[in-house]
Amino acid sequence: MSISRRSFLQATSLGGLSYFGSSIWSSLFAAQSEMSKAKSCILIFLEGGPSQIDTFDPKPGAATAGSFEAIDTKLAGVKFAQHVPRLAELADKLAIVRSLTSMEGDHDRAQNLIHTGYRPNPRLQYPSLGSTVAWRQSDPEIDVPAFVSIGRKFETSILGPQFGPFVIEDIGNPAPSLTLPEGFSEARMKRRLTALEGFNGRFDKQYHSLLGNDLTQLTRRADRMRNCPVFQPYDPAAEEPELFERYGSGVNDGYMARACLSARRLVEAGVKFVEIQYGGWDTHDDNFNQVQNLSASLDAGMSTLIEDLQERGLLQQTLVVCVGEFGRTPKINGDNGRDHFPDVFSALLAGGGINVGQVLGESSEDGSEIKHRPVSIPDFHATLFTAMGLDISKDYFAPDGRLLKLTESGRPITELLAS
């Protein structure tokens, strides 16, 4: 409550919006053209809570600066920490948010909040960003699932399991069950499916079961996934060796290279929302060595992802988001680590729907508090939804009939949205 009012007042005093009053919000969104909306989204989730000071919000000269140096970026006067040089080169294609603030300092609760935009409620699992997008925007005619998660599992939300993600555990072979055994003909699979639908039809008629219908839809979906080359086994080292190397195949274990390349292929195939789980950022000890390693993979993977999307003409329609559940303390603890810090942290946005080439918000000299333009998690969600063309002012009804707003209290950050 206090956050959104404060942020609104700050926006009005700086942006000169006060003249219009609050009704200006809705007309501003309507003015954003359809062309500038993203059609799909890739979320790189830095699980554990990355250190903002050692990545995208360095504090050179401050007592809290740590051991990394700050380097120049493509944006005049904007610096990153030294281990993300390629992202620094791409800063003109990024919107850098330095004033995110969370209400939760515990991993589970904060991860729930950053994914749902709602404070965790033990009785109601709100949908995560990907589930909401799948619910509002999936196209039943498309063979690929709307929401794919690389490596992250989700609780079933109030939208029901059908809007949950298809979870990829082995990127090289994303859906092992799709490969028919050798000598197994298409005709035979077709015969099985026809017989199954016939047999289920009897059951559905006798039992009047809606569940039967859901299950039939799921089986058809599973079968149609066999038409999608993107779910077949894929070896980027053989297919696209140079590009794969640019993604960082040789950096650390190569996971981020595989994950980011796979995300691009999934979006290209029509997936609406891809989430990449990239863990290990909970650096309570040995922060600097760990962040240096983690940054190397993130830097190669995310920067190549942005370039690759652009080269394929997909960047304009793909929203790319990089964020963790919270930040880390400016204060360095006795184990040379930094601890949980929900008060101030950073996020990167790029691609479709976003007004890039800017820094939004500011933290204080030592990084201990927000100096300017706080962005609450609900505001962040409202911004992402708006960038994807979802109407946050509308009332929706979940499949169980419950009224569900995309965000309860969030207001989009207009400066971040492309016009």
């Binding site: 409620n121 033990p122 009785r123 699932p145 599992k153 079933t156 029901g160 399991p161 059908q162 949950g164 298809f166 979870v167 859906a175 092992p176 069950s177 799709l178 490969t179 028919l180 055994p181 035979r188 015969r191 099985r192 017989a195 199954l196 016939g198 047999f199 289920n200 059951f203 559905d204 008629k205 006798q206 039992y207 009047h208 079961s209 569940l211 039967g212 859901d214 299950l215 039939t216 799921l218 089986t219 979906r221 599973a222 079968d223 996934m225 201990s368």
Partner: protein, 524 residues
């Protein structure tokens, strides 16, 4: 407002509940009383409940609910041959079977930890499972079981119950959230951070309860022997819970000062300081006048067996107006506490009722003209059995029942039986954790695991009846998967399907269709 709520709470502790069930003579069984309450509710709202399900349907339903798998072929055959089924006797037998203890032990352990029983991350999941399975087998009174879980002390690999405390790090905050949610059905954890103006539960209630766990300590051995991993929980003789005092002025470092919170239970004055703190908490939880412990357990068991809770939560208990569901909850809870918290008796009472044994299909009733609104009403009035998807465990055990297992080297059934430490979660790894997802569907569609099961089923039929698909093959496969005999139509349908290709492939196709069918992957 606040004072009023506090008053209301004290009141409801004293007089168990407002909307009490009408007095019934002892001679009428509680099962019959349930059926009467449901019949009255249906009549009042003009709902026509379905009649009883068939013996075959009942046998399958109750085996899946109580033992976690489909019934064995011999019992299915007996029912199919027309020998009448003594339903009460089946229930009695299942409740004393080792499979019942294993299935409900697994359900309990997942419910209490929110995890699969294979976890060893900070606590010993398999050991907790073993403890719960043993408690169910021995039919330990529920109040005793709860007190064992809360009073746990000692080493995680020796004392099974201590692993409940360890799952929540033996810390006051997480434990208070878990105890209120899992034992009382209350969302006290919202009050951990803030007072909500409309909520009954206040921060004082949360932290006052949490202070009963203030003296717990989790200890990790400094140098455990190679390959050994265990934790220890102790209760220290002194120490108080300190929480951030948000109203006080921050000190010079900007940190909020802390204040001491003393143990105090909701609606009561400060707890007796001379007793062990957790013992005071357990005494409060398990006294018969506490309406929550018994009602939450009844509500949860009812949900397991009928697919839906009686009431959404107990935060606003007792409700302002009487209702059928509230009457059912009181009826069962009163019987439960007056019979020494007997879980087996509770389950038996529910499953021998007509309400549990309702049909889930309209076709058997002879009138197909039931529209969707009427169906919804039948469901919400317990006038129609709900169709529920099977869990990964139920699917795995049912396939094992039908065909045996092909994952011999890590036989899940064996591991459960011997209480050996689990290294792999075969059901979930192969079938996915959640029903009704693309992941689960893909596994059933063509995973290695399901292909293995399909092969086993086809081979078994060939061994028994030879390679050419005939009536016996279809009969056996339908009986072992669907737990009923096939209709004449179906015999023809599957023989046609199986006759189209070479016989082995044909049989595989039949097994595949049955295994993927809605009828097999649901309880109905």
């Amino acid at each position: 407002m606040y004072r009023f709520i506090r008053y209301a709470f004290t009141l409801c502790l004293v007089s168990a509940a407002v909307c009490e069930a009408t007095d019934s003579p002892d001679s009428i069984s509680v099962s019959t009383q349930i059926d009467r309450v449901v019949a009255a509710g249906c009549k009042k709202d003009g709902v026509n409940p379905l009649t009883a399900c068939s013996d075959a349907e009942f046998l399958r339903r109750v085996w899946l609910d109580l033992a976690g798998r489909t019934p064995p072929l011999t019992e299915v055959k007996a029912v199919a041959a027309g020998s009448g089924l003594n339903r009460g006797e089946v229930v009695q037998r299942l409740l004393t079977s080792p499979e019942f203890a294993r299935h409900w032990g697994r359900l309990w352990s997942e419910y209490l930890t929110d995890r699969r029983p294979f976890e060893t991350d900070g606590y010993d999941g398999p050991r907790l499972l073993q403890f719960l399975t043993e408690a169910i087998r021995a039919n330990q009174p529920y109040a005793e079981l709860v007190s064992d879980l809360i009073l746990g002390e000692g080493t995680s690999d020796v004392n099974g119950s201590v692993n409940f405390l360890l799952r929540f790090n033996a810390e006051p905050g997480p434990l208070t959230g878990a105890v209120s949610q899992k034992f009382l059905g209350l969302s006290l954890q919202c009050a951990e951070c803030h007072d909500h103006p409309h909520a009954r539960w206040k921060q004082q209630d949360f932290w006052g309860l949490a202070a009963h766990f203030a003296r717990l300590r989790k200890m990790t051995p400094a140098q455990p022997a190679e390959g050994e991993s265990f934790f220890v929980v102790i209760e220290r003789p002194a120490g108080e819970l300190r929480v951030e005092d948000k109203r006080a002025k921050p000190d010079e470092n900007g940190d909020a000062p802390t204040r001491t919170v003393y143990p105090q239970l909701p609606g009561l004055s400060r707890s007796n300081a001379s007793k062990q703190r957790r013992a005071v908490l357990v005494e409060w939880l398990t006294q018969p006048t506490n309406p929550y412990l018994s009602r939450h357990l009844v509500n949860s068991v009812w949900e397991r067996l009928l697919g839906e809770k009686l009431v959404q939560n107990l935060d606003h208990w007792p409700p302002e107006s009487a209702s059928m569901n509230c009457e059912l909850l009181n009826l069962l809870a009163d019987d439960f506490t007056s019979h020494n918290w007997n879980i087996q008796r509770l389950i038996q009472t529910i499953v021998v009722s007509e309400t549990y044994q309702r049909s889930s299909s309209t076709a058997e009733q002879g009138d197909a003209a039931v529209d969707s609104l009427q169906r919804e009403q039948q469901l919400s009035h317990w006038g129609r059995a709900r169709i529920r998807p099977l869990s990964a465990d139920q699917l795995h055990l049912s396939l094992g029942q039908a065909f045996g297992y092909h994952y011999d080297e890590n036989d899940y059934r064996l591991a459960v039986a011997t209480g050996e430490e689990f290294t792999q979660d075969i059901p979930v790894n192969n079938l996915g954790a959640t029903p009704l997802t693309l992941g689960r569907t893909l596994s059933l569609y063509n995973s290695d695991y399901v292909r293995g099961a399909v092969d086993l089923g086809a081979e078994a039929a060939i061994r028994l009846y030879g390679p050419t698909v005939g009536v016996e093959h279809v009969e056996r496969l339908v009986m072992s998967l669907l737990s009923r005999s096939p209709s004449t139509d179906e015999l023809e349908f599957f023989q046609d399907l199986g006759g189209e290709a070479d016989p082995r492939e044909g049989l595989q196709d039949i097994v595949w269709v049955l295994l993927n069918s809605t009828e097999f992957i649901t309880n109905h």
